[in-house]
Symmetry: C2
Subunit: 194 residues, 2 copies
């Protein structure tokens, strides 16, 4: 669906409002009527922008949460050209997930839309972009001679993404960021020694 | 409940049968009657061993799946005293999760019992034991002078657990073991250089 600028703004207002509301409650318990009330949207408007109803709206919110994962790591994630930047990025990742704690808006949404077409791509694309930005950082450091050119930047980036995912998963299970910090510190230490 | 040896054997037969059945289907779609039929258990017997019904049975199966996660990594995981053992362990972890692919019996069960008392402890305890065994391996290598004594073995073990969790999570999302392999290889390479 091609939207006018005004239509895009309205759609964005609905998604933003729904995202904020869903962050404070269990997505599984939320009805479309709740979202209509919170975002002050009429049913007709909602189905104009989200013909697929609740599932399509939740998927749009999941996409926004996925975008936010990367945005929250900026400006560091796109600028990993010095060791200071790597440390600042590491701290921003830990702070983000520390603040989030056991709850993970994106995971809660994915549980709801797991069988919706396009849902898997939201996560796959997030992981792909995340990896690409870390890889770009490693390459920048290699070009500057700060990391050995022998390292496979793509593989290093994959290890970081896996480590962060796992650290967050452990955080959600145990409430502690220890593992997330351990894996980030070890991998950065690995880069420093390479 | 204190069980006689015969009672323990019966309980085990039910859990094993249910575990095998649940590996081939969606736990959410399974009824207690299905499990009774598959395990040839009477309703009276089932409630004798699992007074809490389906939830208690699923939790027992989750515990068995959690135990299996560690058992599948043996004999390597408890014997990480040489680099060959670390490589063999790494290969066994990758092979296990490669065979499992996108499905994860433990995660599927945890989705079902997430609000059951004791469910969180199944995962927390699994992660704790996993970390402890890796830590013991690092300490053994340090005692043998193969890894620098300066490394914090507990922290290294935490990084491995986080890395594996994340690698498996990415595998479940994308179907690829690349990230799991990348993070294991990097962390082992880190140990070799330390």
């Amino acid at each position: 669906m091609k939207l006018t600028p005004k239509g895009q703004a309205t759609r964005r207002r609905i998604v933003d409002g729904a995202a904020e509301y869903l962050r404070g409650t269990e997505p599984g318990a939320v009805t479309l009527d709740d979202v209509l009330a919170v975002t002050r949207t009429s049913k007709g408007q909602m189905f104009h922008y989200f013909p697929g109803g609740k599932e399509e709206l939740l998927l749009a919110v999941a996409q926004e949460e996925a975008d936010r994962v990367l945005i929250d790591q900026e400006p560091h994630l796109s600028d990993l050209g010095t060791w200071e930047a790597w440390t600042a990025w590491r701290d921003s990742v830990v702070a983000r997930y520390h603040a989030q704690g056991r709850s993970c808006p994106l995971a809660a949404l994915m549980d709801q839309v797991s069988s919706t077409p396009g849902a898997a791509e939201v996560v796959t694309e997030l992981l792909r972009q995340w990896r690409a930005r870390i890889e770009a950082g490693v390459v920048t450091m290699q070009d500057a001679g700060r990391i050995s050119a022998d390292l496979d930047a793509a593989r290093v980036a994959s290890a970081f993404v896996a480590g962060i995912q796992g650290g967050v998963q452990v955080l959600r299970a145990t409430g502690s960021t220890d593992q997330l910090e351990a894996v980030l510190d070890l991998l950065i230490d690995y880069l420093r020694k390479a």
